[in-house]
């Protein structure tokens, strides 16, 4: 009678191996994509056909349905990067730095979209495309941090070494982001012109919530799908670089 002695692998360890990770998560891609597409369709329907105009903002509230999810994602993706950075430094999980690298361009794009939609909302509401209020300014600084991280990734030759250094910087950024927000809010209340600009943004009455939630989930699932796919690509890209290096080192392998 033999006993099964190999320990059953927890899901954490199972996805630790890059090849395993790709294999295990590939079946998720298509269902997630379909779900995302459906959510966007539902969101668009609710945004344009099934929701009233805001009594204060008029129809421009419909811009909020794409602005708020992007603003949320810009912070959420940095949170994902922070957790991944901890995974790289503290838990040494092999997929953590892949997650960190894949998330950065996505986060940058969502932040840029938050600024873009915010500007287009600001023009009819405030009269200008850009206003140095607390939230927009903090989002702009966050965009600079994302872009700096992307530049860092491209500057390193050795991606594995890059991962640990960038993880440190990501954590430093994570600690500083609340400080930056606090200081920017303090600064904007100091310099707020004596006018009717509502620097804290629009309020959200209840009738607006349905399209907002649907769009919220649509964008979040979009990020999850793209992140997963990008992680797969990064795993393959590292294998490509390893093989290229081996090929360059000599044909007699």
């Amino acid at each position: 009678m033999t006993m099964e002695t190999t320990p059953k692998q927890s899901w954490w360890n199972r996805i630790a191996h890059p090849g395993q990770f790709v294999t295990w998560t590939r079946p998720l891609l298509w269902p997630l994509t379909v779900l995302t597409a459906l959510l966007f369709l539902a969101g668009l329907y609710f945004a344009f056909f099934n929701s009233p105009e805001d009594y204060q903002m008029g129809d421009t509230v419909r811009i909020m349905y794409v602005h708020v999810p992007n603003a949320w994602l810009s912070q959420f993706v940095y949170g994902v990067m922070t957790v991944s950075a901890l995974g790289t430094l503290v838990w040494r999980h092999p997929m953590a730095d892949v997650s960190m690298k894949a998330a950065a361009p996505l986060g940058a794009m969502f932040t840029a979209l938050a600024l873009f939609t915010g500007a287009l909302w600001g023009r009819p509401t405030w009269g200008t495309f850009w206003e140095w209020d607390g939230r927009m300014t903090s989002t702009l600084v966050l965009l600079f941090i994302y872009l700096g991280i992307i530049v860092l990734w491209r500057a390193f030759d050795d991606q594995l070494r890059a991962a640990r250094v960038i993880a440190v910087f990501t954590l430093v950024g994570a600690i500083n982001i609340p400080i930056i927000k606090f200081s920017v809010d303090w600064w904007s209340t100091l310099h707020q012109p004596a006018s009717v600009f509502r620097a804290d943004g629009p309020r959200m009455p209840g009738s607006i919530l349905t399209p907002l939630f649907v769009m919220f989930f649509a964008f979040t699932f979009l990020f999850l799908v793209l992140h997963l796919k990008a992680m797969h690509t990064e795993v393959k890209r590292r294998r490509v670089m390893t093989l290229q290096r081996k090929a360059a080192q000599g044909v007699g392998a």
Binding site: E53, T60, I63, T117, R123, H232, K236, V240, L243
Partner: protein, 47 residues
């Protein structure tokens, strides 16, 4: 829906911009994935 109020142009441009950005993100992700997979297949077949 058709009547989007006096600021319709901003709403339209916001959604067009977001749609274009999402399309670009998706396209870049897919193209990157495909190019990398192709390179990987080429290298693995050569070994």
């Amino acid at each position: 829906m058709i009547d989007l109020g006096p600021h319709a142009i901003f709403i339209v441009w916001a959604y067009i911009g977001v749609a274009a950005a999402i399309a670009a993100l998706v396209a870049w992700t897919l193209l990157d994935a495909r190019a990398t997979a192709r390179k990987l297949a080429a290298l693995e077949s050569r070994r």
